[in-house]
């Protein structure tokens, strides 16, 4: 599919060297195997991908796998922290609002859900940026770490955390809304079921009923949803990375699309698909821990 696009890597290389004549272009094409028929190229690409060799980025002049592995941790950090934060806060909000369906938290959850659905994630990011790094400079506005910071491992970790706060909040706002809303409705459903009534009837305290009995069953739809959202969270991360100049895969993808760096773009798509699959796998495992009945069916 990528071959249908006009222009190829040879054009980009030629441009970056200030133009080249047709002869040199041919030489470049031959060197990089671009003169081979499309199917030959595709065949050799698939064999290579199977062995995790994603080819060579002519733009960055480095193997694609190296390039991606270097950026992957930053994106993973962002995506996983956003998912976790959204899950934890979402479940807490959902439970509180389900226990008191007409209370303040309940209205807050409804409002938050509407906001999360409707606000573009990059806009939320920019608003946070304006509020907390320009008007009240509490958090840094861009990047992942501050090179000037010294003082060992913990100082470095703290520095990364400080950079992480705003992107994670921006990214998780969408999913926080989804999870809290789903947790609220599934909790309400579970709280109305017979076994919860039984648990209450035998004299357990409200807290025990909610956290020990009901929550376990209310959680599984939320976790299932979280697993399905992995690929969406990565899409969101691309935008959030752009807002906060976070040095992850999204920024790399954007740069390589502009540079027409085909191997890198394909490699990123490939890797993000792997991340999604692994994410789904982990979700399934967690789901089995929470709800042992799932194991029997699978």
């Amino acid at each position: 599919m990528l071959h249908l696009a006009p222009g190829d890597v040879a054009d980009t290389i030629a441009q970056s060297n200030g133009g080249a004549d047709a002869e040199v272009m041919e030489q470049i094409r031959k060197d990089y195997g671009l003169d081979q028929p499309f199917l030959t190229q595709l065949g050799s690409y698939i064999t290579k991908v199977a062995s995790f060799d994603l080819g060579y980025s002519f733009f960055y002049n480095r193997p694609v796998t190296d390039l991606i592995l270097e950026r992957l941790p930053a994106t993973l950090l962002l995506v996983i922290s956003a998912q976790l934060l959204a899950l934890v806060v979402g479940v807490v909000l959902g439970v509180i609002s389900a226990r008191n369906p007409n209370g303040m938290t309940s209205h807050f959850v409804t409002g938050l859900a509407l906001f999360g659905y409707s606000a573009p994630v990059f806009w939320t990011g920019i608003l946070l940026l304006i509020a907390f790094s320009l008007n009240f400079p509490i958090f840094p506005s861009s990047g992942m770490r501050d090179v000037t910071i010294e003082g060992g491992f913990f100082a470095e970790v703290f520095d990364i955390l400080r950079h992480l706060v705003l992107p994670v909040i921006a990214l998780c706002s969408v999913y926080l809304a989804l999870y809290s809303r789903l947790c609220r409705s599934s909790m309400l459903e579970v709280l109305g079921s017979d076994y919860v009534r039984t648990a209450k009837a035998k004299g357990l305290s409200d807290n025990q009923v909610v956290y020990k009995h009901a929550l376990k069953n209310a959680l599984s739809p939320v976790i299932t949803l979280a697993g399905l959202q992995f690929s969406a969270v990565i899409s969101g991360a691309v935008l959030v990375e752009a807002v906060f100049s976070w040095p992850g895969l999204g920024t790399l993808a954007f740069q390589s699309i502009i540079a027409r760096d085909t191997p890198t773009i394909l490699g990123i798509l490939f890797f993000s698909a792997i991340v999604v699959v692994v994410g789904n796998l982990v979700t399934d495992l967690v789901l089995r821990l929470v709800d042992p009945r799932v194991g029997g069916r699978a």
Partner: protein, 294 residues
């Protein structure tokens, strides 16, 4: 006089049209009606705004960064001194047009794949669902960025890129509905009376499978608008057309001096998508009879 009670009886017996019923439900939902009203205003602004308030949104009309309300420009000017109000009005056209077109494409692809998978089952379902999973695993935004980068940044391509990556949820819902409905007695009856497969899919099952698909389609319009905003924020859209995301993207560096240039278009996106999701929720309540009882 003695006819009166009988009339009531007849009224009850007359089947009311399902859409009438749904509309009655919908009208009773204040949030949904509010959303519909806001949506109509936005559409009105997009369609007639540029006619009433004329001008070229790319023209530099005043000094850059003049704040809203002052110096004669209601929403101020952007970093090139362009009239922000004019840009927002023109952006509304693009956002809504792309949102509707992309959602339409999404629904067409989704219904086709879901219907075939749910109706034929067997290997057809296997193959189609594997394809659906393949599309679900690829992060949609990255995928569409690649498409736009390859085929060029024009509005039809952007629409295509959004539609072609976001159909899996529609396909899944359609398939589930088809799997359920195809076993119902009236479908068996239609099949027994010799109705062809195509007619079964299009005339018998599809109309009954529509309600959840309609709700999903409404929400798809909202997410397509968000999607388009994201792409144009990254600069992956036709540079000769104003869109809301693009205003934010191109003015992003100047939030230090003037945050309103970024806040206002974002607010436009937010309000539009919010209105659509309120309408979607209302449709869900109105069209889903199971929820009515609650």
């Amino acid at each position: 006089m003695s006819d009166a009670p009988l009339n009531v009886q007849e009224d009850l017996l007359k089947p009311s049209h399902p859409f009438k019923e749904a509309w009655a439900m919908f009208r009773g939902n204040h949030a949904a009606m509010f959303g519909l009203a806001v949506l109509l205003i936005v559409i009105f602004a997009g369609v007639f705004g540029p006619i009433i308030y004329q001008g070229d949104p790319f023209d530099m009309v005043w000094a850059p960064f003049s704040p809203p309300g002052e110096e004669g420009y209601l929403l101020g000017t952007d970093y090139l001194g362009r009239d922000l109000l004019l840009m927002i009005l023109h952006g509304a056209r693009v956002s809504i047009a792309i949102g509707l077109a992309a959602a339409f494409l999404t629904v067409v692809i989704g219904i086709t794949i879901g219907a075939l998978a749910g109706f034929y089952k067997g290997w057809v379902e296997e193959v189609l669902m594997r394809i659906t999973e393949f599309f679900q695993v690829l992060p949609t935004l990255l995928f569409s960025m690649v498409i736009v980068a390859l085929f060029g940044a024009s509005l039809p391509i952007v629409t295509f890129a959004i539609g072609v990556v976001s159909w899996p949820p529609v396909a899944r819902i359609t398939r589930t509905e088809f799997l359920r409905i195809r076993e119902l007695e009236y479908v068996t009856a239609a099949r027994a009376s010799g109705v062809s497969n195509w007619k079964l899919i299009g005339r018998v099952i599809l109309p009954n499978a529509l309600p959840p698909i309609i709700v999903q389609a409404a929400l798809m319009v909202g997410s397509a608008i968000l999607f388009e905003a994201g792409l144009s924020f990254l600069g992956l859209t036709d540079p000769n057309v104003v869109s809301w995301g693009q205003i934010i993207g191109s003015n992003r560096q100047y939030i230090l001096d003037s945050s309103y240039i970024v806040t206002i278009p974002g607010l436009a996106i937010f309000i539009t998508v919010l209105a659509i999701s309120l309408v979607g929720d209302g449709l869900n309540d109105a069209l889903n009879p199971k929820l009515r009882k609650r």
